[in-house]
């Protein structure tokens, strides 16, 4: 088996209640970084903490519970189940946990993301932007400690991307949600509160209150 070193000495602090972005070219290690944070991959070395809890070294079932209860995931594409309705897709985490979601909270999430009229629809009937909003609703519904968004606007045009990031920002501002976003697009990264630049597995720069220009300069 060929092993490649993807991340080297990454030291990253994701503050709670803020939108943090990791920006880098393709193959820079963004997805691997997010996977390590989200308990999808185990780093060979180093540690990951979520809040006060160290998650490196946890067993499979503990990591499963962590992903289910404390992490929300938003991916670039195709992360909705085509055989489930929008509502079932949104509720999947709670259903897998055998939990009931409070009606009030579900309605709030769905209304804030403008999905009230689409609950019975199948994902195939939605536009790319609507699908991403469903993915966000699913990630937010559990009130996770951290939402990991891997290229959430990867398939969207600029207008749609701006709208989606507007939703993410609103969530961070209004509800104090912590979001870690990975993207290759400086335009997307510029919506964050703080941007880390990842290149060849290392953090090479950091931009506070980023603009498109400052992110591009840091890259």
């Amino acid at each position: 088996m060929v092993r490649a070193r993807v991340l080297r000495g990454v030291d990253l602090d994701v503050p709670a209640g803020r939108l943090t972005a990791v920006v880098g070219r393709p193959e820079a290690g963004k997805t691997t970084l997010l996977n390590c944070v989200g308990g999808l991959e185990r780093p060979d070395r180093g540690t990951v903490h979520i809040g006060a809890d160290r998650i490196t070294g946890l067993g499979d079932s503990a990591l499963t519970r962590l992903r289910r209860d404390r992490i929300g995931f938003v991916f670039a594409t195709c992360s909705l189940f085509p055989t489930l309705s929008v509502e079932q897709n949104i509720r999947i985490g709670a259903e897998l946990a055998g939990r009931r979601t409070e009606k009030q909270w579900f309605t709030t999430v769905v209304e804030l993301l403008g999905l009230s009229l689409l609950l019975r629809t199948r994902p195939s009937a939605l536009t790319a932007e609507q699908r991403q909003r469903v993915a966000c609703a699913r990630a937010f519904l559990n009130r996770p400690d951290l939402v990991l968004a891997d290229e959430p606007a990867g398939e969207l045009d600029r207008m749609e991307a701006a709208a989606l990031l507007g939703f993410l920002r609103m969530w961070v501002r209004k509800l104090g949600q912590s979001v870690l976003l990975a993207t290759r697009d400086p335009f997307v990264a510029a919506h964050a509160d703080r941007v880390f630049v990842l290149a060849q597995g290392r953090i090479t720069g950091e931009v506070e209150r980023p603009t498109v220009e400052s992110v591009m300069a840091a890259m």
Partner: protein, 156 residues
């Protein structure tokens, strides 16, 4: 009936389900007809192979969906039980087919024997799905980034 999300993803094709159901049904008919063991054993083996193949190919096709389910917090046990539940449903369908087969093809219906045969058929389906279910439960969690294998294209 509402589907549990563990059954999300690519469903088994109607053809595969039909093959399994016919095989289980035939097995049940043969048991009720009290044919000799020399016929029963190969038929049982054949049923197991058909169900096993159907479920392993289904699990292969659903690899990405199952990895995603694991990502969203499905445990190994849930995935394992999910596949076995589907096998149990196929077994029940097969048992029903077997009952109808017995009613249509055989004159005498020994009810106890038919029930026994149905139980054997349904249990056989679950047994055959054990290995595919175990494999499914070992699929590591991942996002949808894992691309499905590309089809070979024939370019002249």
């Amino acid at each position: 009936m509402r589907m549990h999300p563990i059954h999300a993803g690519k469903q088994m094709g109607a053809g595969a389900v039909l093959c399994c159901v016919v095989a289980i049904g035939l097995l049940i008919v043969l048991i009720v007809a009290q044919v000799s063991g020399w016929w029963l054993l190969p038929m049982f083996a054949l049923t197991e192979v058909v169900v096993y193949r159907a479920f392993s190919s289904n699990v292969r096709q659903r690899r990405r969906d199952l990895a995603l389910l694991r990502c969203f917090g499905a445990s190994r046990a849930q995935v394992f039980n999910g596949v076995l539940t589907e096998a149990a449903w196929v077994g029940v369908l097969g048992a029903l087919a077997g009952f109808f087969g017995v009613l249509i093809l055989l004159d005498i219906l020994d009810f106890n024997l038919a029930v026994f045969a149905a139980v054997v058929g349904a249990t056989g389906a679950v047994l055959a799905a054990l290995v595919p279910a175990f494999r499914a439960s070992r699929i590591p969690p991942s996002g949808p980034s894992e691309r499905p294998p590309r089809r070979l294209s024939t370019v002249a």
